[in-house]
Symmetry: C2
């Protein structure tokens, strides 16, 4: 820890959240003359952009996760605590972690977003989203279990429902999921079943707007749609989901209402702020947008509280006269690094100009060979886009062994068309026949003591 | 599937269980003129000998698992079904899978073993074992959470209990776990914490007999104990566990009774047969031993039912005048292959001599640099034993990408002393603070329809 140079204790920075925003802020403060405490509910940083590859059996969770302590172990001024912050006291300048109060001079809140079901929270059970490792494992379980169930199903109607996959949301996550599932059905699993022909599977991608990948240039949206269709995905735009219940998805296209029998529905359609947004609003009077994101000043602080910053998916930041920045990894990274720089400048009595996001472009993968990349001045598609996508993701993965393992898995998949991580796991026995209760530690038992520390 | 050569339908072999016994039997029948149906509760084959490396954060589950369909996809005569067999009807020659009846001409039962707590099943909650992927993930969660909890704990007594790890059972699994946890505490995690010094952790290995690794030659047991102590493990032999409750382990050494406060207790001490043993006993009158294993004839069949074979951990087989073979992977592999050969010989009107196990030796890893290998005529220890251990395990891993990924993880660990897979996962949020219920799909909900298909 940093020694006191004078009689002043060193500046304490507390960062809540070890995702792209929080972790990049912490890394940028590694050599600063401050003490940093990073708090996260999980002990690892998750590379969310590749989560869909865990969900579709290409990668394992550890391949895209880095233990926070490990990433920050060389930052001698940085402490990592595993915990969930209950409350923030902006007047006493403390965060409350269980019954521990952690004091701060500067607070960076970077707790991200969760899924939004547009008010229909009961859909969550039927249509899981993809934000955490457990989400990905559950999605993976459902996808692969569907083929297994179809293999055993004798009723053709039910089998068809098992082989129907509906992905709701045509942004990058939905597009990547749809492409990966189509490849599973039409390529990877083709030889693995005897009773079913997996190429009879239907993969539907539903998007409410008039094109998929709305943030991209229109010609790239078109290209992506064409590539998806080539892969076997049925893309339906201007399509709203009005109900998901009993394995039936109800859609509205214009005035037309349709029903699709689908046992596997996956949600990639909406996000809202993590609960910390509400905590901040209540304790500081900060204003939030409709998705619960905290509206921040040009320097990413909260109005009236210049020493509380919000970065990443939790923050609603707009350039002057601009739209709010999207909840993507590069935004969070740049915001985190900006705040770190700002803290160091302020300690020297300086300041910084307003945050300015440098938009380096957007990319989305469609299947294993194609991608679309929008760099503004350059638009790539097809094979070169795919190569670019791979390189960028490897570059930003943290930890060298992750880079190496992911590269190997991708080469392997490319060469063999197989996927190395298609396990059905996550329940004591995925087949809990009859009254067999899952083993104790999978029941909803009272939390382990660690939580009350 | 194999066509009928005459008017006789082809010989139907049904295999229950895709572990070493069942999978090796299926692979050996790949080119036989039979139809094979392999049924497993899981969709993958698990390389159990390396499960302790998942539990201690070196490997991911997918690195040591192979989807059964994938392994058998080239065996055109083989069908894989995901399901749990409820019952066996030896007279109608069928197995019952939910409400489906699967007929067989030859049945191979290879469902393995589960943990035994010597009657004290309530210990299972406090002291998880290591048989499945979920077991390993839970063990991993507890091990790494313990260090996290210690980091936040202000009470020195409680911190000491968080940093005390007790492993019950001095066989290969216990030895390997103890060595790996000691390395975590004294090497891997040393730089990662700020409030605690992980080298203050205590790792205790408790064994009831007079030496650890009882099946090995005595000098190797001694060597293993010396190596473990060098790693920092406290080995206590002739020590029986009499109670595990409220984070206190009660031991009995001779007449002395001791209590150890330990938040993390891991079970590697006893196994018993899977419930299928009971099902077989009831339906065929087969005799079982005290651990519930089915006693088999010299040709691994059940007395009175020459077309029902039991292989692997579920079987109790003795050479003439010998002790029952141990429940280890090479035994299961050889038994599976023997039965496959027997089936093919019988179809030609031949027979085979009694099964004879070819004991190629035993091996155990102690930490990352040392192992003991007992090959009978050769005994290896230290560095060469370790190399041998690595090569053997890589050799027997199924699927080339697993071999490659595991080799890379091991090289990485060796060079950096880090471990690439130390995630705390497995619950919706590992910190369920207050009344927050876990997300629906982690509650003990009724099984998904797949189970009733």
């Amino acid at each position: 820890m940093v020694d006191s140079l004078e009689n002043n204790p060193p500046h304490q920075v507390v960062i809540i959240g070890g995702g792209f925003g929080g972790l990049y802020a912490a890394k940028a403060l590694a050599k600063a003359k401050v003490n940093v405490t990073l708090i996260d509910k999980r002990n690892f940083h998750l590379f969310q952009p590749l989560l869909y590859q865990v969900a579709t059996g290409t990668l394992s969770p550890a391949d895209i996760s880095s233990p926070l302590r490990s990433v920050l172990s060389k930052s001698k001024n940085t402490k990592v605590l595993l915990g969930e912050v209950n409350d923030i006291d902006p007047n006493a300048q403390q965060v409350l972690l269980g019954d521990q109060a952690i004091p701060y001079d500067t607070l960076i809140v970077a707790t991200g977003a969760k899924h939004s079901y547009f008010g229909k929270d009961n859909w969550e059970d039927s249509a899981p989203g993809l934000k955490t490792v457990e989400d990905a494992i559950e999605m993976r379980r459902r996808i692969f279990s569907a083929f297994e169930a179809a293999e055993k199903e004798t009723d053709p109607e039910k089998r068809r429902a098992w082989l129907t996959f509906v992905i709701v949301g045509g942004g990058p996550t939905g597009v990547e999921l749809a492409g990966a599932i189509a490849e599973l059905a039409y390529q990877t699993l083709k030889e693995d079943f005897r009773n079913i022909d997996t190429s009879e599977a239907r993969v539907l991608l539903l998007e409410g707007l008039d094109r998929i990948l709305p943030p991209f240039a229109p010609e790239l949206s078109q290209q992506a749609e064409a590539s998806l269709q080539q892969l076997g995905v049925t893309v339906q735009t201007k399509t709203l989901v009005t109900n998901i219940e009993n394995d039936v998805v109800t859609l509205k296209q214009g005035d037309e209402v349709k029903e699709i029998a689908a046992k596997t529905v996956l949600w990639a359609a909406g996000v809202k702020a993590s609960p910390m947004g509400q905590v901040l609003a209540e304790s500081t009077g900060a204003e939030c947008d409709r998705a619960g994101r905290v509206i921040v000043e040009p320097d990413l602080s909260i109005k009236g509280y210049p020493n509380i910053h919000v970065v990443g998916d939790l923050a609603n930041f707009s350039h002057q006269n601009g739209k709010p920045l999207p909840g993507v990894a590069p935004v969070a990274m740049q915001e985190g690094e900006y705040v770190a720089k700002l803290i160091q400048q302020k300690l020297k009595g300086n300041t910084l100009p307003a945050f300015n996001y440098s938009d380096r472009g957007s990319l989305a993968m469609i299947g294993q060979n194609l991608a679309v990349v929008d760099l503004g001045f350059i638009k790539l598609k097809g094979f070169f886009a795919w190569l670019f996508w791979l390189v960028i993701h490897i570059y930003f993965l943290i930890e060298f062994d992750n880079k190496l393992v992911v590269m190997i898995q991708w080469v392997w998949n490319y060469v063999t068309r197989k996927r190395g991580a298609r396990l059905i796991t996550g329940q004591k026995s995925p087949l809990q026949v009859g009254n067999e209760a899952p083993s104790n530690y999978y029941k909803a038992t009272p939390p382990r003591e660690i939580l009350n520390v």
